[in-house]
Amino acid sequence: MRPHLTMNDQSHPSEGEDHLSDDSDAAGGSGKSGNCDRDSAQQQILELVIEACKHPLGSPRRGRFLDKLIREIVKSGQLWKENTPHYEEALQRTWIYLSRNLCEATTAKQAYNPKISQITTWLNPYLKKRLLDCHLKQQQERERHIQNQIVSLDRLSDKKDIKYAENLRANPDVSFYLEELLEWIETDPNDELKSRHVRGKPEINCQVLLQRKCLYGQTIEEIAKEFGCAHSTLYQLLNNDCRHLLQQFSENQGYQTFTIPGVPEQ
């Protein structure tokens, strides 16, 4: 490693940067401190930070360095760890904080500055703060839960920007919708499902296929074997005919929010 490039070295910051932006081989003398492994790990981390920041946020190339950086941080064993129920939540949010503020301050006041602190020194306070948040939130939840036995599904998700919050909130509708859907498949009152079948084989139709998949838990291969047809044929039936019929059902029943993927707009 290059001796003057330890992260806490404040005496030659500009010199250090010049060397780091140079892509030449980093072979050199051994570190001045006895803690050689830790130093070289920190060195590795610092190089990854610098490389990551050369590429735009959200580009796969920066992603490649972030991926490696996270591995190195995990490997360093210096990230705060505890065995509490919300540790994973707090950790995930910490990785996002790292990614959003490593090179440019997106959610923090200032971006990470390697001259001021080691990366784990920067991340650990954030992680602990999130753990405290989660802990307080859980306490509040518990108090609320005692007051009001029904926990709203809204509160289960704290990732507001993610679509699945919607999905959770819509859940009472989902079960209602699925009940109706399954009943329609069972009864097929207008023979819509039965009338869409593999050519020349009316017994292999959409109703049978959907029931086998859902109620019997069979795979397409298993069903194909049982009926003696190619699994690509069954896949086509599922992917084209069944999808269209499911979409028609959702539309006709007024479930506009449950559009079926892969069916073109009319």
Partner: protein, 388 residues
């Protein structure tokens, strides 16, 4: 820094959050068969692990058009798909860790960790790749084991997986391969996208008036050769007959004759004539050849894209799909689809038995918006991503 150093086969541990567990339980509870409950539970955790991973990397994903996130499709498909914005779907296959007691209760073989990960039929179409995710509920960790660009054999062999870095390299290539239509307006083209004369009229233009000794243009000559070789048409049926066969009067979707009366014009400027007829305001038009492997040999089709810049900086796009020279019709059931950047199929056109050309409704694209065009036949598809 050497990029090769980034390859790392050590699985990346992603935290499994309470939130993810909650969603997985909820999705599983909607299933009607115990096996399906288990599948959906693990599929959901795998999708969320890759979702969280890409969120950390600030690579945008969208679940709204995914089967894994659709309550109805989740009942009927064993899919763990996740859409990467503007690029395509990645399949996140879960690998379950055997519990210690489970393993010892069964025979010795099952004590070994799984060596492969099955990929069901419904999870093999329209995927840009596969990531295997080992779910460890005890440690609340989802380990992203690695990446495979394909799963044609129906399973992922775990010790043959590529590194996650290869997955990101793959994404990088896909990003770079996006066709930037703004570049087209500045006359910058990727070599795959040829002026369509070069696709539909491979002869140099200046040669065409003089060289008429051979009345059959070269590519048409190939067409003759092809049909003779495949025995579809007897060569001695006479020129008149053949001409009628190649250029019949009924052209349902194709303004083929507007170029004039000579055979050369008819045959060669088809793409151009059709384009001028249908999309007269085009600023730029380019075409590329697409190879579609088929069970019976290969088929080449030509995708034609013409654009016109609108006053409000949006770009109007016109898309046609033609058989390449050498074939007369598109293969039946060839599908041409317009897909939004979140993976929604906005419009689809499908060829019937004798279509010379199919096209999409013209559409407008906002600046910086992405869209994709997919050409598909049977289980095979090729997707071209565009950005304005």
């Amino acid at each position: 820094m050497n990029y090769e150093n980034l390859s790392n086969l050590e699985p990346l541990p992603m935290p499994i959050t309470q939130n993810s567990l909650q969603i997985a339980r909820q999705f599983a509870a909607q299933q009607r068969h115990p096996q399906r409950q288990e599948q959906v539970y693990f599929n959901t955790l795998a999708v969320l692990a890759v979702h969280d991973y890409l969120e950390i990397l600030s690579i945008k994903t969208d679940l709204t058009e995914c089967d894994s996130w659709n309550p109805a499709m989740r009942l009927f498909t064993d899919a763990a798909d996740l859409y990467i914005k503007g690029l395509g779907k990645i399949e996140c296959r879960p690998v379950r860790k055997l519990h210690q007691n489970q393993a010892t209760a069964n025979d010795n073989l099952s004590a070994n960790p799984p060596v492969n990960c099955p990929v069901p039929v419904e999870a093999r179409a329209d995927r840009i790749g596969y990531i295997a995710v080992a779910i460890d509920e005890d440690e609340k960790v989802a380990r992203l084991l690695g990446f495979s660009p394909t799963a044609d054999s129906g399973e992922l062999v775990l010790n043959e997986l590529h590194s996650l870095d290869d997955f990101l390299v793959n994404l990088e290539h896909l990003f770079d391969a996006k066709v930037d239509l703004n570049q087209w307006l500045m006359n910058v083209f990727n070599p795959d996208w040829q002026p369509f004369e070069a696709i539909f009229d491979p002869e140099p233009l200046e040669d065409s008036p003089g060289e008429i000794e051979n009345p059959i243009p070269s590519k048409l000559g190939n067409w003759f050769k092809n049909i003779v070789e495949t025995g579809w048409q007897k060569f001695d049926q006479g020129k008149q007959n053949l001409e009628e066969t190649i250029f019949p009067d009924e052209h349902p979707n194709f303004a083929f004759r507007s170029g004039g009366n000579s055979r050369q014009n008819l045959s060669l400027s088809g793409g151009q004539a059709s384009l001028q007829h249908r999309f007269p305001e085009a600023d730029v038009a380019r075409a590329r050849l697409i190879d579609l492997g088929m069970q019976l040999g290969r088929t080449t089709v030509a995708l034609l894209v013409a654009i016109a810049q609108q006053s409000d900086r949006t770009v109007r796009v016109h898309v046609q799909l033609h058989p390449a020279i050498g074939q007369r019709y598109l293969p039946p059931h060839t599908q041409l689809s317009l897909i939004s950047d979140t993976g929604k199929i906005l419009h689809k056109s499908e060829s019937t038995v004798q279509d010379l050309c199919i096209l999409l409704k013209d559409f407008d694209v906002e600046p910086e918006e992405s869209f994709s065009i997919r050409v598909a036949i049977d289980d095979l598809s090729i997707t071209e991503n565009f950005v304005v």
